[in-house]
Symmetry: C2
Subunit: 374 residues, 2 copies
């Protein structure tokens, strides 16, 4: 009988697990938030992932549980684990992806390089941090942020007052130094429950308005040292946090050649979409292998360069189908991935991958094909 | 709304359309022969493809109909076309894939090189053909044969008596010269309804017991002339027979450098499985693009060589899961594709693709990974 992998969450990350699951002969089952989601084809249940009974009923028919997102509450996860259900990544690892203060504290214990940071509970706390950091800081809500939400650059203690007012009990905001980075990178590592790890090459990510817009794999002009440092950081975090499945580590590269950890994700990640068409083993296949405790696949690039460009927003007029034809006709070497989502401004509705031996060509084709949809 | 592609037949060819359909955002709907088939995930109906009402009801909810196999009767196909349903390939093309005598006659009209052949209706007919062809011939039932079934090498007019006895009315068997071939090749071409065509590189196929066992892409030591001749044959047949979707042409290469057409298939074909991991656009994606009348994708190889080895039979003991782990652990660069079929001796239950710059390495890895399953 086929191994059954249950995915909590029906978004595009779950959707993109369908293709490798079919080829590998794994039975993918998805608990979707509602009908008609991106991963609808594999949805076997619809319900609230915060409700233990819902998740428990879903988990009863799978061999391992994994995730499309990191929002399943700790109490739900811990109850499942206590009942003997295989959950990857497990709650002990996921807590670090769910709370940025907990993550920062743990990375400090591990000695992983990161921006200077502090918990802040008041405008005075924040002003003190600002005074010590050239008058600027990034303030983050520790929980629930994504794609630039819950992140704000501030220059006075009063600029986070609304978030401070909303804090409860001993909660705090996270203040981080505003890192003078020259570019952003991402390092992915896959890790099996037994500890076997395989890294991907470090990539360059380009963000626009807090959202990943483009990825180039491997990171251009990456020295051997930089690649080694990034890989080492990825391995130390995967091991130190007990991650199972795919880990993505977002990194800042500074003008003085330091690499600092920005954010973490414990699932397939936008920075790894290039691997679907650019690596021997794509990140969605690798995540399935890792969480199902199967041997990991080769992560070598298939070509000198791979470029991923997100399709944001979708067509202002005309149908997605019309845009599709234009993009396909003009760029037969572009690999178009769509998420089955209704387009609206700024929403990620798909991405384009292009692999090749000439970086400029690949960037041009990927951007042009993605632009055909906007 | 997503374009809906209906596939008649729930076998592995339909199954392998699921992955590219998800990524392209096409809605795949499958009319399966029974529950639990290889393409079960996309099955929206179960029924008999020979029954017009069943197929008509299935076709009502799709934008285009295509096939996992070539067995849908002409009268069903023609009734659907008469009702305005888009069918690709259509009945005018499919008749040549359904009846080898009709195919031979049409290829003769087109002047495409093929083995000498004749219809035979009696042992005397067959003996005459044998006398004219060094005493040996290949006899085929014109309809319903596959994977070596319905094919027999004979050396006397009496050796096909059972098949001759079963003929009805004006039916005939097909007798072909026994071609002294040095190897077998296959040429694939994708063709859109409007006539746009894109060929794949010609490949070498290795058959064992009448079943495709291995494919090497492109065909080793293929001269430019051979590649051109094969491509030209593929294009002439695709155009001359009005094929839409993927066409595969099985070819003999003789010791005097002739290329002769052996068989045709108007669908994704075992000789093209390498393209899933070895070409920019795999044949399953290309078939969907062609039948949905979308611009065709780039067919360039992703690496110098791609090798496909079929997984036949499956495990004599132990579970497929155990074999999987062994194959994956030993060969992290092998791309394993499984069909979700119960293994039995000689049955194709999956295949392995390996792409790389060294042919010997790729052949070794693909064979070794496939052997782990047997």
């Amino acid at each position: 009988m086929a191994l059954r992998v249950g995915v909590i969450g029906g978004g595009q990350l779950a959707r993109m697990m369908i293709a490798p699951a079919v080829e590998l002969g794994l039975e993918l089952r998805v608990l979707a938030e509602e009908e008609g989601m991106a991963a609808g084809l594999a949805a076997t249940a619809v319900g609230d992932y915060r409700d233990l009974d819902t998740v428990r009923a879903f988990a009863a028919d799978v061999d391992v549980l994994t995730f499309d997102h990191e929002h399943v509450p700790q109490e739900v996860l811990r109850a499942l684990v206590a009942e003997g259900i295989a959950v990857h990544p497990g709650p002990d690892a996921l807590q670090f992806a769910q709370d940025k203060l907990v993550m920062r504290a743990r990375l400090a214990e591990l000695g992983v390089p990161q921006p200077e940071w502090a918990p802040v509970r008041s405008a005075d706390d924040l002003q003190r941090f600002l005074d010590e950091h050239d008058g600027a800081a990034v303030v983050k809500t520790p929980r629930g942020g994504y794609d630039g939400k819950g992140v704000r650059v501030v220059r006075s203690g009063a600029e986070a007052q609304d978030w401070l007012d909303a804090l409860e009990g001993s909660d705090a905001l996270l203040a981080e130094e505003l890192v003078p980075f020259v570019r952003e990178l991402a390092q992915q590592v896959a890790r099996r429950p037994g500890g076997e790890m395989i890294p991907y090459p470090v990539v360059e990510t380009v963000q626009r308005d807090g959202v990943c817009a483009e990825v180039i794999a491997p990171a251009p002009a990456a020295t051997e040292r930089l690649a080694e440092v990034a890989e080492d950081i990825g391995r130390r975090i995967a091991e130190g946090l007990g991650v199972t499945g795919m880990l993505a580590v977002e990194l800042f590269e500074t003008d003085d050649e330091r690499i600092l950890v920005n954010e973490l994700a414990m699932r397939p990640h936008n920075s790894g979409h290039w691997s679907q068409d650019g690596a021997v083993t794509g990140q969605f296949e690798q995540h399935l292998r890792a969480v199902a405790d199967l041997p990991l696949g080769d992560t070598r690039p298939r070509a000198s360069w791979a470029v991923m460009v997100n399709i944001l927003g979708g067509p202002a007029e005309g149908t997605l189908g019309d845009r599709f034809e234009a993009a396909m006709a003009a760029h037969p070497d572009a690999k178009i991935h769509t998420y089955g989502k209704a387009p609206r401004p700024g929403r990620k509705v798909g991405h384009v991958n292009v692999a090749g031996d000439d970086l400029d060509d690949a960037v041009y084709v990927a951007r042009a094909a993605a632009a055909a949809f906007v």
